[in-house]
Amino acid sequence: MQTDSLHTEELLVNMGPQHPSTHGVLRLVVKTDGESVQETLPLIGFLHRSFEKIAETLTYKQVVPYTDRLDYLSSMNNSLAYCLAIEKLANLEVPERASILRVITAELNRIASHLLAFGSYALDLGAYTPFLYSFRERELILSIFEKISGGRLLYHYNRIGGVARDINIDIISEIGQFIDIMRKKLNEYNELVTENLIFIKRTANIGLISMSDAINYGVTGPCLRASGLKYDLRKVHPYSLYEKFNFDVPIGQGLKGQIGDCFDRYWVRLKEIEESLKIVEQALDLLREGEIRTKISANLKLPAGEVYVPCENPRGELGFYIISDGKPNALRVKVRAPSFCNLSILDPTCRNTLFADVVSIVGSIDIVLGEVDR
């Protein structure tokens, strides 16, 4: 058969919004030429709940539980960023014990979020077991959170001026046990996935993001660090007493391929779990008796002005930009969602890769659609 008489044409392939590897309601329209990807068009907005409009109609205190629902896998970190923004504009002091409790919950939530990213990433690439293992460990964190706040996914734990409830000695010892278990399990994860030849073949040298591209597209968090920039808001602009803790900022090393590939983004997340464990351990030692919340008036009014407060979320820089005109509700609340900016680099990264690699790349960027669509 003569090959030059065969008819070929570009094919548009639709992926999502109901597709397991798009991690929620993301729709991708992929223009393919055979196996190679020419263009990836992300279509978002399926989960748009108009958070920013709702936040303009509510008082500052009423908005806090809504922030939990932005990135629903790291609720503690979201509400922390929002509370810090309000506290900065209102000039509120937070008691030391509350700040330490915020660090503990934020870091535990970071571990839970990275565990889910780890498990679902392996699942995307065809390995079912790591998903079950990571959910087993994540369950320990969720049960700790249930005892602390009463919720398993959405906590409403951070409040303006402090936190909702104190923790007792039982919970502290449970967190200590979790740290020990998690450290052992990390070795297991490395044996199971990090050194797995099939996993390496699917991720190393795939989906390269250079540091300059990452900065230009506004990519933050583990994806930026995997591209080689040692930048962590907890180190550079510490908030909530992060300056008191010793921890490293892991960056991409190109261990199995080149710096900034899918493997590096996966590897940075696993390393960050280790660092978060260190922070939680130190925070438990720093915990002293004291107040957990500054009393604020029921009808909190902020002075006219504006503030932008960024926090290091599991997915990158979450920022709240709040403009107040002196009324009980905000003039404008804008969320800088890390997943939204990280997702914008998907199309240039996927160009000229193979179709199966699109799944690898989407999984390695680790988006949460609740935050992309807000």
């Binding site: 907005g45 748009h48 900065i215």
Partner: protein, 157 residues
Amino acid sequence: MNYELISSKLNEKFSTNQNQLNTSTAGDPYFLINKEQLLPICQYLKENEELWFNFLKLITAVDQGDKFSSVYHLYSYKYEFGITLKVDLEKTNPVVDSLCGLYKAANWLERECYDLMGIIYKGHPDLRRILLPLDWQGYPLRKDYVAPTEYNGIDNT
């Protein structure tokens, strides 16, 4: 790096005296800049080696009642410093230059502002709705927006 240094550099380079540093309100200070100068100022801030604002964090559109504002948060990874630029736009014809040529991040951020507030970014390569359906009417984040009672036969009430 500090605000005074940036302010003096901007006044030196763009000697119109219209680019003012506002520190009177609570919270973060911001630069209120002239609409026509947005693009040259951003280019200067990004490419000057003593400033190097290479990271566009956020673009926000604000409805102030009698006018719109387009707000830009820039950050310099090298000097670890962030600033806020504000441009005022008239209510009837909110048009401002697009930053897509300077920062790739501007693409989606400007599309979102167009989608929800109806600001037109001149020179944007692909200015269409991003979060809402393409056939949606109106711009929800405007203060005078009235939510529709139905959408394509689906009751909203």
